[in-house]
C-alpha cells in the first residue's frame, strides 16, 4: 500500500498541473469551434438559436457583396503582402549575407517595424497617405507635382495602401528566418560553383534556393496566418473604407458579431475561413514535417 501511495500522489499532481491545458483545449479550442459551427447552421441573429437552417447562412453569406469584397481583398493581400514580403525579405537576407559592414544595423532597421503594434503601423501609414498633408503633398512641394499617393481615399486602391503598410511591417521577420537559413548553407558550395564559372545570382537561384525549402515554408505559413488574422490594421487605417472597399474577412466577422448583431452570418463566415486555412496549410505543414524528418534522419 505504501508503495502505491506515492505514484498516486504524483498522478494527482500531474493531472492537476494539466488541468489548465485540458480546460483550454477542450473548452476554449474544441468547444468554441464546435459551437460556432453549430451556430452557422441555425437562423441565429442577436442570440444563438437551436433551430436548423441547413446551409441558408452560407448561401446568404455568398450573396452578401461585402463578404465577396472581403474575400477578393484577402486574395489581393495574399499577393501583395505574402508575395511582397517573401520577395523583399529573401532579397534583404541574401544582400545582408554578402558580408556587409554594419550588418547588425541593417538587421535592426529592417526588423524594428515588427516590434510595433498594427495599430501604430496603421496610424503612421494613414498619416503618410494623408492626401492633403502627407507624402503626396510633400512631393508636390518639393517640385514633383505629378506625384499621386491618394490610395486611401480611392476605393480601387485603398486595399493596396493597407498591403503596403503590411509589407513594411512584415519584411523583417522573413528576413530573419531566411538569414538564419542562409547561414546554415555550406560555404564550400559557393567555392565549387565559382570554379565552374557560376555567377552569384545564379548560384543563389539554382543552388541555394532549393535548399531553403523548409525555411520558405515556415515564412510562408507565418505570413498566411498573419494574413488571415488581418483586422487591426484595416480597422485603424481605413475602417474598411472608403465604402467597404478595403474590408477583410476577419473584420467582416467582428462587425457582424458586435456591430450588426448577426452571429449566424458571422459564424458561417468564420467556418468558411477555418476551412480555407486548413485546406491551404495542411498539405504545406505535412510536406514541411516530412522534409524536416528526412533532414534530421540524414544527420
Amino acid at each position: 500500500m505504501a508503495r502505491n501511495a506515492k505514484p498516486n500522489r504524483i498522478n494527482l499532481a500531474l493531472h492537476a498541473a494539466l488541468l489548465p491545458l485540458v480546460i483550454t483545449t477542450l473548452l476554449a479550442y474544441i468547444g468554441s469551434v464546435l459551437w460556432t459551427i453549430r451556430i452557422s447552421f441555425s437562423t441565429s441573429k442577436l442570440l444563438p438559436k437551436d433551430d436548423w437552417a441547413g446551409l441558408a447562412q452560407f448561401e446568404r453569406l455568398f450573396e452578401t457583396d461585402r463578404w465577396i469584397v472581403s474575400l477578393q481583398n484577402m486574395g489581393i493581400l495574399a499577393i501583395v503582402y505574402i508575395g511582397g514580403v517573401m520577395v523583399i525579405g529573401c532579397l534583404l537576407a541574401v544582400f545582408i549575407d554578402q558580408q556587409v559592414k554594419g550588418e547588425s544595423w541593417f538587421r535592426t532597421i529592417f526588423l524594428y517595424p515588427f516590434a510595433m503594434s498594427f495599430v501604430v503601423t496603421g496610424l503612421i501609414w494613414q498619416w503618410l497617405f494623408n492626401p492633403t498633408l502627407g507624402l503626396q503633398n510633400a512631393m508636390h512641394s518639393m517640385g514633383w507635382t505629378s506625384f499621386t499617393l491618394d490610395w486611401t481615399v480611392r476605393p480601387e486602391t485603398s486595399i493596396y495602401a493597407v498591403g503596403l503598410a503590411m509589407v513594411w511591417q512584415g519584411c523583417g521577420t522573413t528576413m530573419a528566418i531566411m538569414l538564419a537559413a542562409l547561414r546554415g548553407v555550406d560555404d564550400e558550395q559557393w567555392k565549387a560553383a565559382r570554379l565552374d564559372g557560376v555567377s552569384k545570382p545564379r548560384y543563389y537561384w539554382n543552388i541555394v534556393l532549393p535548399q531553403l525549402g523548409p525555411a520558405l515554408a515556415t515564412a510562408f505559413v507565418l505570413l498566411a496566418v498573419a494574413l488571415v488574422r488581418t483586422f487591426d490594421i484595416v480597422a485603424v487605417m481605413t475602417s474598411g473604407g472608403p465604402g467597404s472597399s478595403s474590408e477583410v474577412p476577419a473584420k467582416f466577422i467582428i462587425d457582424h458579431l458586435f456591430g450588426r448583431n448577426n452571429i449566424g452570418l458571422a459564424s458561417a463566415a468564420s467556418v468558411v475561413m477555418l476551412i480555407t486555412v486548413f485546406t491551404v496549410l495542411t498539405p504545406l505543414l505535412y510536406w514541411r514535417s516530412k522534409v524536416q524528418s528526412r533532414l534530421s534522419a540524414g544527420h
Partner: protein
C-alpha cells in the same frame, strides 16, 4: 557609419574585398531599403514635435523649428478621447497592469505544460498537445463569440479577468510548444536521477527544470510582453471600457476625435504607445529574434 563602410570595405575581413560595381549595388540596395524602412519612423517623430501651424504648412519631412515636447505631455495627460480629456496615460497604466500578470501567468502555464508533456508522457497528453497545436492555426474569429457568451455567463465579460484569461488561452499553443521542445532536449537521465532522489512532480519542476529553462523563459517573456502590449482586437472585445489597453485608447484618440484633427498630438500618442515594445526590441536584440524563430516553429 555607412559611408565610411563603403569607403573601406576591406578592413577586418578575412579576404580582401574589392569595391566592385556589384558591391556598390549591394550597399545601394540596402541603404535605399533602409531609408524606406526608417522614413515612417522619422515622419512620426518630426510630426509629433511640430506645432499645429507647422503641420498645416505641410512640409512633411522638415525638422520642426523648435521641437514641441509639450505635444508629448499633452498626448500623455490632457488630450481628449471622445469626452474624457485625460490623455493616453490611463491606457498606458491599463496595459502595464495587464501585461505583467498576463505574461507571468501565461509563461508559467506554458512552462508547466511543456514540462508535464515532455517528462510525464501520457497518451491523452499527446492527443491534447496535438489539438492545441492545431489551435495555433485556427482563425481567432471562430472562437470569439462562444468565449464572449461563456464569459458573460460567468459574469466576468468586459472585466480585467476576461482579458487576462484570453491572453492566457491564446498564448498557450506557442508557449507550450516552446517549452516542450526545450524540455525534450533535456537528457532524460537528469530527470530520472531527480526521481530517484525522491523529487516529486512539483519539486522537480520548480527547483530543477524551471531554473534550467531560463533562456526559454526570457524568450517567452519577450514574446508575451510585446504580443500582449501590441494586441488590439482582444482588448477591444474583452477588456471593457475601464480596462482598455493603450492600443485601443490610441485608436480612439486618433480616429474618434470630433472637430479638427490634431495630427501632431496623434503622432505623439502613437510614439508613446510604441515606446514599450520598441525599447524591449532594442534592448533584447537576439532574444527577440529567437522569439520569432520560436513562433516560426509554431507557424
Amino acid at each position: 557609419m555607412t559611408t565610411s563602410a563603403i569607403a573601406t570595405p576591406s578592413v577586418a575581413k578575412p579576404r580582401k574585398q574589392l569595391l566592385t560595381p556589384a558591391r556598390i549595388g549591394v550597399y545601394a540596395f540596402l541603404l535605399f531599403t533602409s531609408a524606406f524602412f526608417l522614413l515612417p519612423l522619422y515622419v512620426m517623430l518630426v510630426t509629433s514635435l511640430k506645432s499645429s501651424d507647422e503641420v498645416r504648412a505641410a512640409v512633411l519631412f522638415a525638422w520642426p523649428a523648435s521641437p514641441q515636447f509639450g505635444n508629448w505631455v499633452e498626448a500623455w495627460s490632457t488630450a481628449c478621447i471622445s469626452l474624457a480629456c485625460d490623455g493616453i496615460r490611463g491606457g498606458f497604466w491599463n496595459s502595464v497592469r495587464l501585461v505583467i500578470p498576463a505574461t507571468i501567468l501565461s509563461v508559467f502555464l506554458g512552462a508547466l505544460n511543456g514540462y508535464a508533456l515532455s517528462f510525464w508522457r501520457s497518451k491523452w497528453g499527446d492527443v491534447l498537445f496535438a489539438i492545441l497545436m492545431l489551435g495555433a492555426f485556427v482563425p481567432f474569429q471562430i472562437m470569439i463569440y462562444p468565449l464572449v457568451a461563456w464569459f458573460r455567463l460567468g459574469g466576468f465579460y468586459n472585466t480585467y479577468w476576461a482579458i487576462l484569461l484570453v491572453h492566457c488561452i491564446f498564448g498557450m499553443p506557442v508557449l507550450t510548444l516552446l517549452f516542450r521542445n526545450y524540455f525534450v532536449s533535456v537528457p532524460q537521465e537528469l530527470f530520472k536521477a531527480a526521481r530517484i532522489d525522491g523529487g516529486g512532480f512539483w519539486r522537480i519542476f520548480l527547483q530543477l527544470m524551471l531554473p534550467m529553462a531560463t533562456p526559454m523563459i526570457i524568450v517567452a517573456t519577450i514574446l508575451q510582453i510585446t504580443g500582449i502590449w501590441n494586441d488590439y482586437l482582444f482588448g477591444l472585445i474583452f477588456a471593457g471600457k475601464d480596462n482598455y489597453p493603450m492600443t485601443v485608447q490610441l485608436n480612439n484618440l486618433v480616429n474618434t476625435t470630433f472637430g479638427e484633427r490634431r495630427y501632431h498630438i496623434d503622432m505623439a500618442a502613437t510614439i508613446l504607445t510604441s515606446l514599450v515594445p520598441l525599447l524591449v526590441y532594442f534592448f533584447s536584440g537576439r532574444w527577440f529574434v529567437r522569439g520569432i524563430a520560436a513562433g516560426a516553429v509554431k507557424g
